[in-house]
Symmetry: C2
């Protein structure tokens, strides 16, 4: 199925026009004042039933996207954070998971006031100041999705809106998007019953939307896509092939098990060497996040691209 056929045959998400209005107003606020990056984050679901009890999902807590969004804000970008509902979010991610529950950092003083324990105060203050700053400046807008369909329709709308920024927009496509889906017309209404033996599923291929995204929706934007593999031997080849097929600017390649300490930047130019971004032992030990190295390099690349 090609992208056009996909969008014509699927029922759009019901909140699409509301989301588009919010993004449009956000983009107008920052237009010509600062660069804007669209960060996509988290996995997309593929529902197997209309009233969804079961779905196919892609592994992603949203760490890459949420962390990257913070460093883009640090670098002066306005950020459209298009993320899977309930995946990690910029700033709150520091405290939202089981191993870092914020309640463990809180105390009640003699006046009955709830406050952060002395020894954690500095860390939380640092996070909170940045969070409040992004809120005050209005530089962070949160848009959520659940299904791969929500994601694809919203991505199309948002990138079309961003196209007016021309080269001042970056698209940083870190979401883990399903390659397969169940078309609306093949979907069953109710929960699949388990009484009838094994479950046989046939899923159609999701159209490759990077093609219209680069050529039609946002033809002047700086486009960075991700490639996640588990087999290192195919990573570079698949990244090169993606750049050749779609004509965008960078593929960031990573391997599932090492993605938090090593990524590669692959470029379309034949003669431009692959760039390895890694964390050393020291950096791993002191909690440096690899996105603190990835984002400045992309900002540099984006600035070069803007003056080309």
């Amino acid at each position: 199925m090609d992208p056009q056929e996909y969008f014509e045959s699927q029922i759009p998400p019901s909140n699409l026009s509301e989301v588009s209005e919010r993004v449009d107003s956000f983009v107008n606020n920052h237009f010509k004042k600062r660069k804007i990056v669209l960060v996509t984050s988290g996995g997309t679901t593929v529902p197997l039933e209309n009233q969804t009890v079961r779905f196919l999902d892609n592994f992603s807590a949203g760490t890459r996207g949420a962390t990257s969004a913070e460093f883009f804000l640090d670098a002066g970008y306005a950020v459209i954070f298009l993320h899977r509902q309930f995946s990690l979010q910029p700033y709150s991610r520091h405290y939202s998971h089981s191993k870092n529950c914020f309640l463990d950092y809180m105390k009640i003083n003699e006046k009955g006031e709830v406050h952060v324990e002395q020894k954690w105060n500095l860390n939380m203050k640092e996070v909170l100041v940045k969070y409040q700053n992004a809120k005050k400046l209005g530089t962070l807008i949160m848009i959520d999705f659940v299904t791969v369909k929500d994601y694809l329709f919203t991505l199309r709308s948002v990138t079309k809106i961003l196209s007016k920024l021309k080269k001042d927009a970056m698209l940083y496509l870190a979401a883990a998007v399903s390659d397969f889906f169940v078309p609306d017309k093949k979907m069953v209404e109710h929960k699949i019953q388990s009484d009838d033996g094994p479950l046989d599923l046939r899923l159609d291929k999701v159209p490759k939307i990077l093609s219209p995204l680069v050529k039609e929706w946002a033809p002047n934007s700086f486009v960075v896509s991700f490639k996640l593999e588990t087999d290192e031997s195919i990573l570079v080849k698949k990244s090169k092939k993606s750049l050749k097929t779609y004509g965008h600017h960078i593929v960031i390649g990573n391997i599932l098990t090492t993605r938090k300490k090593q990524v590669i930047f692959v470029y379309p130019e034949e003669d431009k060497p692959i760039l390895e971004v890694t964390l050393n032992e020291e950096e791993l030990k002191n909690g440096t996040e690899i996105e603190s190295k990835i984002i400045p390099k992309l900002v540099e690349g984006h600035n070069m691209f803007r003056i080309e």
Copy 2:
């Protein structure tokens, strides 16, 4: 595949003995001092690859389980909270999702101390006091799972440990457990490539483990299972059938779209009428949680059961 064949043919999760030791010590601490409830919560995944990028999942944020755990603690139970990794947890659930981000409740005062804003202080204090109390008493133990295999092996170990409490243990099985799985020996190693057209999947049926759970693992425990459907016309019939097949004590039936305001208690006794637990308009408006009505009724049922 029957349960015994399942457990013999699948590779157990690597942390199983460590988890069992933790639960064993927890159970020994509370044995003969208080009742213990096992609360299972959240959805289980079915990985499609050994190095997992894609998986099948069951819809569940873990609200039912996390909320119920709080009311069980209120009622004096010690709680084993066996939950999907990163699903909602007791207490922190009040602040962990996008619409209730705890950072929005925090301020920095003139001394640079991070504290809760005055108007939210009472609410957060109430949650924090209960959380700290459970920590102090050691009445809440958190065990997490990801896959349906983790869940099944852990459930078997934990219920066997709980069997020493005899009638003082309740099993409250609120997790959304997959009915299908991919056996270890059929699993592919690497990420499934999307170049080869549509994806065909065949998933085997997960064995019905309620049967050995009730008959062998914890034969004296008070067992409450859940039935979630989307089609109201089959709910009672399926709940009755489940009670007849497995011989446990209550099925709580609920419909996907109304599960937060209405559930039914279905009993094995032919002459015992179905109990409807509902929230009225008033209660819905003031934020009453339906678990505040479910748990006291179960505690009552458990106490009756203990003196039978």
